[in-house]
């Protein structure tokens, strides 16, 4: 029936529901749709309503605000008040809209008949079937054979699931995250006796050693950490924090580091121990009690730098230097983990890192257990292995799968898929037709996070709320509601245990229980405020309270267990020549992002490849084996083999090959299916020896050329910047030496005389931007935000291969210098390139019809209606930031509902480009006009700047000398891209400060 849900009907329904809600005669579910960030009381045509909610694209739990127009979500942004993300949002968060409007969502419940054919059924039928199954099991006394497998959820849902299972006589609720933090929990238990993931003071640190933690990409909380890192790594008062990234393959995080230690895979642990050894024996760290010192010396005795150098292939002097630098840092921090570093010794690695932090006194300083990020445990492979065992033995009669796709992201060697087929009845609550749903007997599609109620606790003291931002796009139902409904239908004691009408009511009640006291008498007001804000949190959870820190730090002592810990080296299966290094893609995470066309379309930050999988091979290896980019290679491990095209990358060790995770779906909608490979098939059923967490770094592979080719589509024309003044760096030494440095260009006024035409006059505004390349990590969030805000179409791999991607902003990535085993900072540059809104724009005079022209506010306007499509402007644009509509692009239903009504969808044959989000400027000016004033600094923010997790992009009025952008633009080392062309851009770049 949803096939017939057309836009008009949809809008009517939404409008009707909205009116019903506000008039107050509606049904229960709509009543509380009122809370908004901006308190509009109902849906005003043409006026955006903002709802605060929580991003659930990964377990970081960033705060989001969702802009809705006429009852549909059109844009998500970071919630500036939220303590985790503080206004930023990553590329995956931006793409959550494409989960909501994904054309391949399961549109209604279905069940699979015995022949495997899909039969659509109604929700009533589906719930009845589930009830029958449960009823039958209960009668047979087999209630304990019901298993609920879920992803990491908010506390309320978790509790409901537990309670629901409990009422049916089962306690088998298994929480499964593909990228588990269990080793950290376990290691902290072992080392300090506290089972928690602490909070990491990245922002306060001045020296970070990261053992494989890709904290700018996927590790724990990338958006918040990016912000912290930008703060820590910013040059101020003559100082700049240092990041040393220890990993076999240079990740995006590594590319932003000051040093890359290209360690042998699986030996990160030894490096940490070696450093700790040097610190303890050299008494470089804090004073330890004699007992501890003795114990540690004994424990670390085998890890003298020399022997560690042999194990890790990191030069002894590097270890020595790192130990000294780390111990000498006033606020050092050692991090570890990340998928790529999760091997059989994952927990041991964390213990080693803990020791390193401990001996330098970082516990309680930069590592805070008094504010744990989280404490509950995600299921390790152990319980999943048990589950597989149990399924095989027939001890699972009913399996419910919610927000997890183990058939895809568990190594097939584990046999989950086979075991699943032995379960008599599998229900999938997935919103998408993923691999696990493909094996389920019945699908009861959950709503996406943007459509439902919920809560999430991303860190201690942060209680984030989720609320529906619009009515469901399809006929899905929130799983929480389904559970309550089924309980009701089961009747008897079960029904009595669940008196709530729906999940929303349950959630509110639970919050009332938890916060009723702090809320005071007026809980309604509290609840409304919480919804508007996006949750409840302490005002400044990240700021350090010295008192608490001291208290927490002094209490934590090494356990005796830690001093007896045995550090076993990681095992690697197979006799292959190369270590297999799997890493989570910043776009696809554990694979769940693969069906979002934006994430496929936006180039990978490091390789700039789109719509594909690849294997990274070191140039030396490639030269030796005669491999060139695009050669289809066959990778064989003891567990399986894949064929994947080669990408030659100097950022991977010669003895290692790296493949990103997340692609290679067999079933996940039109955008993901059949694209790339899922390298998990190469993994043996190995796991961390302490937590049973799946090991991602655990096998070696053999490579052979298949003789065939599979062309990779990259968006970069050249990997070198060639010193053209596009993406500049400035040595830290030049800044600290107090030298004036090379003056980049002259002030714009001096150029004025060189023009034949009088300069443009700007009266109130001259919009401008300052982009701090020191802060830009290259993550691509701005690109996704721009796609969402400006209705930019997705064109697919073939068209991108021709050079026809439509992005208005791109991250130019230049690989200037990367070397394995070099103490020189990796020089990989990222610079956002968008329309420079030149004052002396080369595009303007060449347009024969004035389709592109200068506005009184300094914007290069592009008048789509006027454009005849000569493309002369694009040819003459030195920055090549104009894009042409080569075709009439489509937005497959219901993706078209995401389109921003403030921005026109361009026709074929016209040129388009970045507008500095002129619709937002317009909106800001309208507000200002209503109040009879000029736009205030910071009042207007383009989508790219808004999303930037590190606030590398600053936007504002250059005519206001006090605006942030003016101040940044006046910075001494600021420069304009291709300054010698005298285009007088409105964008000033601040060069990346490089520790060279």
């Amino acid at each position: 029936m949803t096939d017939s849900l057309r836009r008009r009907d949809f809008l009517k329904l939404v409008g009707l529901a909205g009116v019903a809600g506000t008039v107050g005669c509606g049904e229960q579910p709509v009543r509380s749709l009122i809370p908004q960030m901006v308190p509009y009381e109902d849906i005003h045509p043409g006026v955006a309503a903002w709802y605060a909610t929580t991003c659930r694209e990964c377990p970081a739990g960033c705060g989001m605000t969702v802009r809705t127009r006429e009852g549909r979500a059109t844009k998500v942004e970071g919630n500036p008040q939220h303590p985790i993300s503080r206004g930023g949002l990553c590329v995956r968060g931006q793409a959550s809209l494409q989960g909501l409007y994904n054309p391949d969502r399961i549109q209604q419940p279905f069940r699979r008949d015995t022949g495997g054919a899909i039969q659509n059924i109604s929700w009533e039928e589906a719930e009845e079937q589930l009830r029958e199954r449960i009823g039958a099991l209960q009668e047979a006394g087999e209630g304990d054979k019901i298993v609920f497998l879920t992803g990491r959820n908010g506390e309320s849902f978790n509790q409901l699931a537990d309670r629901w299972l409990g009422a049916l006589g089962s306690d088998r609720h298994i929480v499964y995250e593909a990228f588990s933090q269990a080793p950290i929990l376990e290691a902290n238990e072992i080392t300090f006796g506290t089972r928690a993931v602490p909070s990491y003071g990245i922002a306060e640190a001045d020296y970070i050693v990261s053992f494989g933690a890709d904290f700018l990409e996927t590790w724990l909380s990338p958006v918040g950490f990016s912000r912290d890192f930008a703060q820590m790594h910013a040059y101020r008062d003559g100082r700049m924090g240092k990041l040393v990234q220890v990993e076999p393959r240079l990740s995006l995080t590594g590319a932003n580091a000051d040093e890359w230690v290209s360690i042998k895979p699986g030996t990160e642990m030894f490096l940490a121990l070696g450093m700790a050894h040097r610190i303890v024996t050299g008494k470089l760290g804090v004073t330890l009690s004699s007992g501890e010192a003795q114990g540690l010396e004994n424990l670390l005795a085998p890890y003298a730098p020399d022997s560690v150098a042999a194990l890790t292939e990191v030069p002894g002097e590097t270890i020595e230097r790192m130990a000294r630098e780390f111990a000498g840092a006033s606020a050092g921090l050692a991090l570890g983990g990340g998928v790529a570093a999760t091997g059989e010794n994952a927990t041991a690695t964390q213990v080693a890192i803990n020791l390193l932090n401990y001996v330098t006194g970082r516990i309680g300083q930069t590592i805070r257990f008094d504010r744990p990020r989280y404490t509950e445990e995600s299921a390790g492979l152990g319980s999943l292995a048990e589950l597989v065992e149990s399924m095989n033995q027939g001890n699972v009669k009913l399996l419910l799968v919610h927000q997890a796709n183990p058939v895809y992201n568990l190594p097939p060697a584990l046999g989950f898929a086979d075991a699943l087929q032995k379960v008599p009845f599998v229900v999938s609550f997935s919103s998408f037709a993923d691999e696990t749903t493909g094996l389920a007997h019945m699908a009861m599609p959950d709503l996406t996070p943007l459509e439902q109620w919920g809560d999430f606790r991303p860190a201690a003291g942060v209680h984030s709320l989720m609320q529906p931002t619009m009515n469901p796009v399809f006929d899905g139902r929130a799983t929480g509601d389904v559970l309550l409904q089924v309980a009701k239908q089961l009747g008897g004691a079960v029904a009595e245990a669940f008196p709530w009408e729906n999940f929303q009511e349950y959630l509110k009640e639970r919050w009332k229980e938890t916060y009723g006291e702090s809320a005071g008498e007026n809980f309604e007001q509290f609840w409304r405020d919480a919804l508007q804000r996006g949750g409840v949190w302490d005002s400044s959870p990240s700021s350090s309270s010295a008192e608490a820190a001291a208290g927490a730090g002094s209490r934590l002592r090494l356990t005796s267990q830690a001093l007896r810990f045995s550090f076993l080296p990681a095992g690697f299966a197979g006799q292959g020549e190369f270590f297999l290094h799997l890493y989570p893609s910043i776009h696809y995470y554990d694979g769940r992002g693969a069906n979002r066309p934006w994430l496929q379309e936006i180039p990978d930050p490091i390789t700039n490849i789109v719509w594909d999988s690849w294997v990274e091979v070191h140039p030396e290896t490639a030269g030796r084996m005669g491999i060139v980019e695009g050669d289809l290679l066959r990778l064989e491990s003891p567990a399986g083999s894949v064929e994947v095209p080669a990408y030659i990358y100097a950022g991977v060790r010669p003895d290692t090959v790296a493949i990103p995770l997340g692609q290679g779906h067999e079933s996940y909608g039109r955008y993901a299916t059949g694209l790339g490979v899922n390298p998990a098939v190469l993994l043996p059923a190995a796991s961390d020896s302490h937590t049973e967490t799946p090991a991602w770094s655990c096998t070696k592979v053999q490579i052979s050329k298949t003789g065939r080719r599979s062309e990779l589509v990259r968006t970069d024309g050249s990997v070198k910047e060639l010193g053209r003044g596009i993406s500049e760096i400035i040595p830290l030494s030049a800044l600290t030496a107090g030298s004036q440095g090379e003056q980049h260009g002259e002030p714009a006024e001096q150029h004025a005389a060189q023009s034949m035409y009088p300069p443009h006059e700007h009266t109130d505004y001259r919009w401008g931007m300052a982009i701090d390349l020191s802060a830009c990590t290259g993550c691509g969030a701005c690109v996704a935000a721009c796609y969402a805000e400006n209705n930019i179409p997705v064109v697919g791999k073939q068209q991108i291969a021709r050079g026809r991607h439509m992005a208005w902003i791109r991250i130019e990535r230049y690989i200037e210098n990367i070397a394995v085993n070099s103490s020189v900072a990796p020089d990989m540059r990222f610079s956002p390139m968008l329309c420079q809104q030149c004052d002396n724009a080369p595009c303007e005079p060449v347009c024969p019809v004035y389709a592109t022209m200068h506005s009184s506010e300094g914007l290069n306007l592009q008048v789509y209606n006027r454009c005849v499509g000569t493309r002369y402007c694009s040819n003459n644009c030195p920055y090549k930031v104009r894009v042409f509509n080569w075709f009439e692009y489509e937005f497959p239903e219901p993706l078209h509902l995401q389109l921003n009504p403030d921005v026109v969808v361009r026709d074929k044959g016209v040129m388009e480009k970045c507008t500095f989000c002129v619709q937002r400027i317009r909106e800001g000016k309208d507000h200002a006009k209503d109040e009879g004033r000029l736009v205030r600094d910071g009042e207007v923010t383009p989508a790219c700047a808004q999303s930037c997790p590190t606030q590398a992009i600053m936007f504002g009025n250059l005519l206001d000398p006090e605006s942030a952008v003016s101040r940044l633009s006046r910075r001494q080392h600021g420069y304009h891209a291709l300054e010698e062309l005298n285009t007088k851009p409105a964008i000033t770049y601040l060069p990346r400060v490089k520790r060279i």
């Binding site: 002369y872 694009s874 040819n875 075709f887 074929k908 040129m911």
Partner: protein, 448 residues
């Protein structure tokens, strides 16, 4: 051939010879006409598909916003050049050998400009709005941007076409009268209409000669201006490889060079097919060859200067672009171009070669290829290697672009073949003059 030259040729004989092609369409002619027409139709269908689907069916993409459409445009504008050069400039200088080839060259000009004029339409994204490029009072309250070289193009091409057409037509009036006089029925009235009542009286001749001189004088500066303006499409742009002050003379020389080559390509088969050896003699080709050689040397000089200046500026981006041109992805095309335009024409230093029509014909084809490649190398290849290394790319024409390119040749030859059939390929009265007047003696001596 020498035998025919020694016999006196009567005026009737001249008229008969020149008008001979007009009376009997041979099978071969019809076949050619059909082939040219089909090719034009193929091009038209490709264009329709492109309008319908979007510019994306062509191979152009960022960074090369312009591809072979613009190359072909410049190519045809270049071809259009020698017509006016031969007719107007050589007329003003009283060059005796001009008469034999002027009509063909002028016709070529007209058709080449017509073909060229299609390409701006073909290459724009919304061709149905082409009239927005024409400044005329309108109710949209919109105007064109006179700073844009594309508007200059509209004027340059428009003016050139208009003047060339009038010049061509005026030159043809006495001949049209001659056809009228030899025709009957409807044909007679049609030609009569266009002959404008020409009777060949002394008074008419006096006025006619004055008018022709006037048009010749008017057309002369256009030879220089049109291609200068076309070259500014590029020179005004800041793209490395375009942004150069040498472009105007360089393009004019290139245009005349390619135009002369095209004249050879057309006249050599024409002369043979219609037995015009009496009128288009080896001396004509000798003179043409010298001009071609001279233009080749100018073009070669321009090539050298482009590279020299790129090096001399010291601008690394400029240097890199020219290095890329010679040794980058398109180096094969570059070297083919260099051989065709700079080295092969050097054989014309030998008199023997200038008299060998087979060599000359082959040479003219090579020059056409070389000059086409020149435009390709300047336009899309420069664009693919611009300022920002991150967006460097490659440009390969798609099948539809090739179809439209082929279609343009079909269109041109279709028109040209119709011209052969319906209009005199040589200016009858001028040939008669040549054979009668004092220069005629020199003419005969030179060709004997």
């Amino acid at each position: 051939m020498s035998a025919t030259n020694q016999q006196p040729v009567s005026f009737t004989q001249i008229t008969d010879d020149i008008l001979a092609p007009m009376w009997k369409p041979s099978r071969g002619y019809l076949l050619l006409l059909f082939a040219a027409f089909s090719l034009a139709v193929v091009g038209g269908l490709c264009w329709l598909h492109q309008i319908n689907t979007g510019m994306g069916v062509a191979g152009i993409a960022r960074p090369a916003g312009w591809g072979i459409y613009i190359s072909t445009f410049v190519f045809w504008v270049g071809i259009a050049h020698s017509g006016t050069l031969i007719s107007a400039i050589l007329y003003l200088f009283h060059v005796p050998w001009r008469a034999a080839i002027s009509r063909t060259a002028e016709a070529m000009t007209i058709f080449a400009v017509m073909t060229a004029g299609l390409f701006p339409l073909i290459h724009i994204g919304r061709p149905w709005l082409f009239y927005w490029l024409i400044p005329y009072p309108n109710q949209r309250h919109l105007w064109v941007n006179f700073r844009s070289p594309l508007i200059w193009d509209v004027f340059a091409i428009g003016t050139y076409f208009t003047i060339s057409l009038i010049f061509w037509y005026v030159g043809m009036i006495p001949d049209l009268a001659a056809i009228r006089d030899r025709s009957t029925g409807r044909k007679r009235s049609i030609y009569g209409l266009f002959a404008l009542g020409w009777r060949g009286s002394g008074n008419q001749w006096r006025h006619y000669k004055a008018a022709y001189l006037f048009f010749a004088a008017l057309a002369t500066p256009l030879v220089i201006s049109v291609h200068s303006v076309v070259s500014w499409d590029f020179a005004v742009g800041i793209v490395p490889g375009w942004h150069s002050t040498i472009f105007a003379p360089y393009f004019v020389a290139g245009a005349i060079f390619s135009g002369l080559a095209m004249v050879c390509t057309l006249i050599i088969p024409l002369r043979r097919a219609f037995h015009l050896e009496k009128y288009i003699t080896l001396n004509h080709f000798n003179q043409l060859s010298k001009l071609i050689l001279f233009m080749s040397l100018i073009v070669s000089y321009a090539y050298v200067m482009e590279f020299f200046i790129a090096w001399y500026t010291g601008n690394p981006i400029e240097r890199d672009s020219y290095y890329y041109r010679a040794f980058g992805d398109y180096q094969t095309l570059f070297w083919i171009m260099t051989v065709c335009n700079c080295f092969v024409p050097l054989v014309l230093f030998f008199r023997k070669m200038r008299h060998n029509l087979k060599v000359l014909f082959a040479l003219s084809l090579l020059i056409n290829v070389g000059m086409y490649l020149e435009r390709f190398i300047i336009i899309p290849v420069s664009l693919t290697h611009g300022f920002i290394p991150n967006v460097w790319g490659l440009y390969t024409p798609s099948i539809y672009e090739i179809g439209i390119l082929a279609g343009s040749f079909g269109f041109f030859f279709f028109l040209f073949l119709l011209f052969i059939k319906f209009l005199p390929v040589l200016p009858i009265f001028e040939i008669k003059e040549v054979f009668q007047s004092q220069p005629a003696k020199q003419f005969r001596e030179a060709t004997s």
